[in-house]
Amino acid sequence: MEKRNPFFFTADDADQLARSQAADRANEYLYRVLDIGQYMLQSGAEISRVEDSIRRLCTSFGAQRTDVLTITSSIVVTIYAPQFGAVTQTRRVAGQQYDLHRLELLNQLSRRICTEYLSLEETEAALEEIRKVPQYPFGVQLLTYALISASFSLFFGGSAMDAVASGLIGVLLRYLDRVIRQLEANAFLSALICSCVGGLLAASSVALGLGESVDMISIGNIMLLIPGIPLTTSLRDMFSGNTISGLLRFSEAILLALTIAFGFAMVAALM
């Protein structure tokens, strides 16, 4: 039997090797592109923005053809070019952390990558930079919750005392929400607990003389807890042809809003 030299290396093999090296490189690029897509989605971008950015990024990185499918919690991308063949990656996107400032930065970054043809290393550095951008300090965030609750309590016709009570309760509720979410409870359970506690606090603050109307205090807090971003982005999604994601997000947001209003109303009726 003829023995084949294991080190025999044909032109075909060389081609194969070059292709697999190119594919490795393409995988690295694609990984970063998915990073950008994932952060965009988590920051509160619409589906069409995510898909469009991924498509443009892949094109600028040298893909001849890009197929993207994004739904609320997952991204699938296949890119193709003769140099490396077809490369596919998927990404499961869990957990939303709405941050419109980060979304804006990511949008700028993806534009920059496409116009200035940033290298992989430059892209990684820029992403790291964006990851490090701080959020508003904790104190400001607490004030924000108070501001939202108080202004909407006033907005829907509450008195000044109602606004104060609503503001204080708002801060507590958001804090409670954060604690519950850290226990990885699902959003509905968290919404139900928060709204029931909110209703109880509203009723007891009226009983204690801080605030006049349980309804007005509760409405301020409902506005704070209502999922505003999903409600509006889901409309944009549905309209731009991403019906699946739009419907998913929309029904989730509506159910959440109903749960929240139900919790407050139930406690108000029982008291």
């Binding site: 709405y98 419109l100 965030q141 907005f155 409405i219 944009r236 309209f239 209003a261």
Partner: protein, 156 residues
């Protein structure tokens, strides 16, 4: 409604939008622009009061004006329209109506609950359609521009 309650509503719409803009980490100049969007939406709603008494068309027009504001601003300031749209639409969200729906429902007054529920639903629909009309227009403009600049599309 008297003048002072108009001012109070506008001020609280502004503050509420600003609250949401802060909550979603909007920065500096855009914070002010986003809050002004909320004020604008509610000002349109209030200004239409003498002309049309029903809430639904008023919400529809207010939401349309707001979306145009957001889309135009996004092009001027060069950032995603979502940033302004999401924060400024908050005063239009029928939170009060939703609460009253549930309140009647829990109290067992199903007639009032379904009437209020229908009202909430119609308001939400008015906001949605009000957003969709200008958005489709702006998308059409973008498509036409892209189509005309087909040759340069690769460089985007």
């Amino acid at each position: 409604m008297d003048f002072s309650s108009y001012v109070l509503q506008l001020a609280s719409a502004f503050a509420g939008s600003m609250g949401f803009a802060l909550l979603f980490q909007v920065r500096r100049r855009k914070l002010l622009l986003a809050s002004l969007g909320g004020l604008l939406a509610w000002a349109v709603y209030l200004a239409l009061g003498p002309v049309m008494p029903q809430d639904v068309p008023r919400f529809f027009i207010a939401s349309m004006v707001l979306t145009i504001y957001a889309e135009v601003l996004a092009r001027v300031v060069k950032c995603p329209a979502t940033l302004f749209l999401v924060t400024a639409a908050v005063p239009l969200i029928p939170g009060g109506s939703l609460y009253h729906t549930m309140r009647y429902f829990v109290a067992g007054d199903f007639a009032a609950s379904s009437a209020q529920g229908l009202n909430t639903l119609l308001l939400a629909l008015a906001i949605a359609v009000g957003m969709i009309v200008p958005m489709s227009f702006f998308q059409l403009v973008r498509r036409v521009r892209m189509w005309r600049g087909r040759e340069t599309r690769q460089s985007l």
